[in-house]
Symmetry: C2
Subunit: 448 residues, 2 copies
Amino acid sequence: MKHFPFKSIEGSVTAATGFKAAGVFCDIKRLGTGKGSNKGQKRDLALIVSDRPATVAGDFTTNQICAAPVKICVSRTKRGLARAVVVNSGNANACTGRQGMRDAEAMAKITASALASAGVDSITAQDVMVASTGRIGVTLPMANVRKGIGLAARQLQASIESAKHATEAIMTSDTRPKEIAVEFQMGGRTVRLGGICKGAGMIQPGMSPTGARPALRSLHATMLCFLTTDAAIDAKTLQTALNEAVAKSFNRITVDGDMSTNDTVLILANGMAENEPPALKSKEFEIFQAALDHVTLQLAKKIVLDGEGVSRFITVRVKGGKTGAEADAAARAVANSALVKASWCGGDPNWGRIICALGYSSAAVKEAAVDVGYSLPGSREIVYALKRGRPGSATFKALCRITTAKEFDLHIDLRQGKAQALMYAADLTEAYVDFNKGDVNDPSTLAG
Amino acid sequence: MKHFPFKSIEGSVTAATGFKAAGVFCDIKRLGTGKGSNKGQKRDLALIVSDRPATVAGDFTTNQICAAPVKICVSRTKRGLARAVVVNSGNANACTGRQGMRDAEAMAKITASALASAGVDSITAQDVMVASTGRIGVTLPMANVRKGIGLAARQLQASIESAKHATEAIMTSDTRPKEIAVEFQMGGRTVRLGGICKGAGMIQPGMSPTGARPALRSLHATMLCFLTTDAAIDAKTLQTALNEAVAKSFNRITVDGDMSTNDTVLILANGMAENEPPALKSKEFEIFQAALDHVTLQLAKKIVLDGEGVSRFITVRVKGGKTGAEADAAARAVANSALVKASWCGGDPNWGRIICALGYSSAAVKEAAVDVGYSLPGSREIVYALKRGRPGSATFKALCRITTAKEFDLHIDLRQGKAQALMYAADLTEAYVDFNKGDVNDPSTLAG
């Protein structure tokens, strides 16, 4: 990849010109969820608004059981225009039937009218995207939601602090907010792009623009990501760029192999940088793509690092697959094997469980052809545990020096072809089990 | 299923007429494995021998990475005749290259000559089946193996106690021996059938007679099972019966969704009951099948109950699948979801994670059609948490009364067709992670 000059800047969804945000507390978490249950007054409703109508693109869970807000976003994304995003945490509004659809529609309507009251001109419910995360199967406490939207509409600001409030408001079991912003030149104009996301559990996204299942299947967990940019870019081109970015970032992560009902990535582009909208494959488009790739990849990695109970971050790099689908299947089999993930928790460099997982994947694998090696992030030196199916010459200690690090890369060569695949994965820890088993005597700790 | 009159009897692989067994200590575990590492002097080599040549059938892992002893068994099973089985624990002899094949062949040869010395007439290496379980990627300590085989050959007995020694010798992380025997009438003769098995981790078998991948894919963990009977039954009929029994038992269990390199089920039938060999589909064959089904199912359930860290046993019953493959995919998605399994650990009756897993499975699922219910084993009363996609009327307490039990059944109706599938599954506990993460400062605790 060519190096494109973009620089990191402070902030997130309000970094781009013409975007405001707010994050407020309206007591949805306590009413709706165990995860991230609200002992104090944690913010649980976020609003992101553009001063001008923006083009919009989105990618959504391919789970057949998908939440009401996802259904609404899928249909509104096709329209290609949006003005605002309203998000609640603490309640997923998933498996809530017709009431859930009515509630999601109402969230958009209430937001449009609250924004109109707050002075946003000519906004309708159709301009409002909706997202939810939290407990499954419980209808939204709409009185609280209504109160929260009203509060948020009055608190909207373009400040870094208000974006931080929005970031906090979308968190569930996340332990820290996840945000990023960059600035770059595009067609002689300064463009900004920023975003926020949340993750933690039920994480192995496999999104597509329509929620329709792609040929290459994958799993997920609830992750939400909201991106804003002041670039001028038409909705179709924006969707192309987003698909490409998501394919290389959020669709390559796994915490626990479970694909959520609510995974959502949205990007709003309001054109206030006043650049010439880039044509597909133009140099300007490539710059935008590179910036978007960077932003989504950094956010995706933050989700894995902050996954439930995660103590180690492993980049699984498979090469030599017969086909892309096979390389992907091999990488996912390793990244989701309970035994491999438990061994990562212990920092174990042994390769037996890895080759075992490769062997039961749907990828063609030949024992005598497989390499398994390790490297520290950024280092070019791969230390091999297995070379062509036989133990490598590296000492146990040399291997452990890498695999007991907080982050390392696992290199697998199948030598069956030329296809590659990559997954960003996490270990499986006792803390993950402890968090997710809950306590039946305190239903607020349970999963919904 | 009709009720066939077979009765439980004491013992296992020596219950049938004409079978002897032994289990000895030859220090393979300490040299080869972390799992079940040998602090005391745990038996680690087993021998099972028939007084007369027996017909043999087998089912083996479909993992592409398969151990040397599995390769040997696959080829010998085709021949249809066997006399003895030699098994070691502590070392899987998997991913050991050509040396591994030489060692597995040597195990058979050494066994044949030790048995010849011990008075077994006209036995060759071709008559000896070989199995291994334990650490992957380390070659066998052949001096120890040779010593162990010599010892075992001298200690062979038809007693219940010697069969117990064999059962102990095949254990790795198992906490208790798993054995069973039954007696039944077949063509006017009294026939006996018994067996032993081991499991614990890397458990989701998907075996086939040749190790070739069946159309219906599945995963696994190392499980070994050795069955003996004095029934007279030809090898082809025996293989048919075994395939059927394995499909309904070992291929329906999962502890952690990992399919092992070594999964092996073998049955030897020596004809000493002197019954008329049953023809396929005859009444006599059905009696034999029912007895074999019972024996393999009981052994398979014991593997799940004694799985690493397992605290709860769940029977996942899916009906209403569009096809058998879809019903199976739905059952496996639920049975292997990290989030569902963690919630089982806590005794959580919530259905959100269950419907989420169904939604990302390859089965067609419609939210408004799905039922999720629970029952205690043996009870006909299903208490529904979800009915046609909406929460059922049962109280949380009523659901918990079932899901906090040590064993319960999970009933899922997809209402998309008439196909059914069933999985015997386990919860995911902190103890599983603790056991499998090992300790890099004590390599004997690691996975290989």
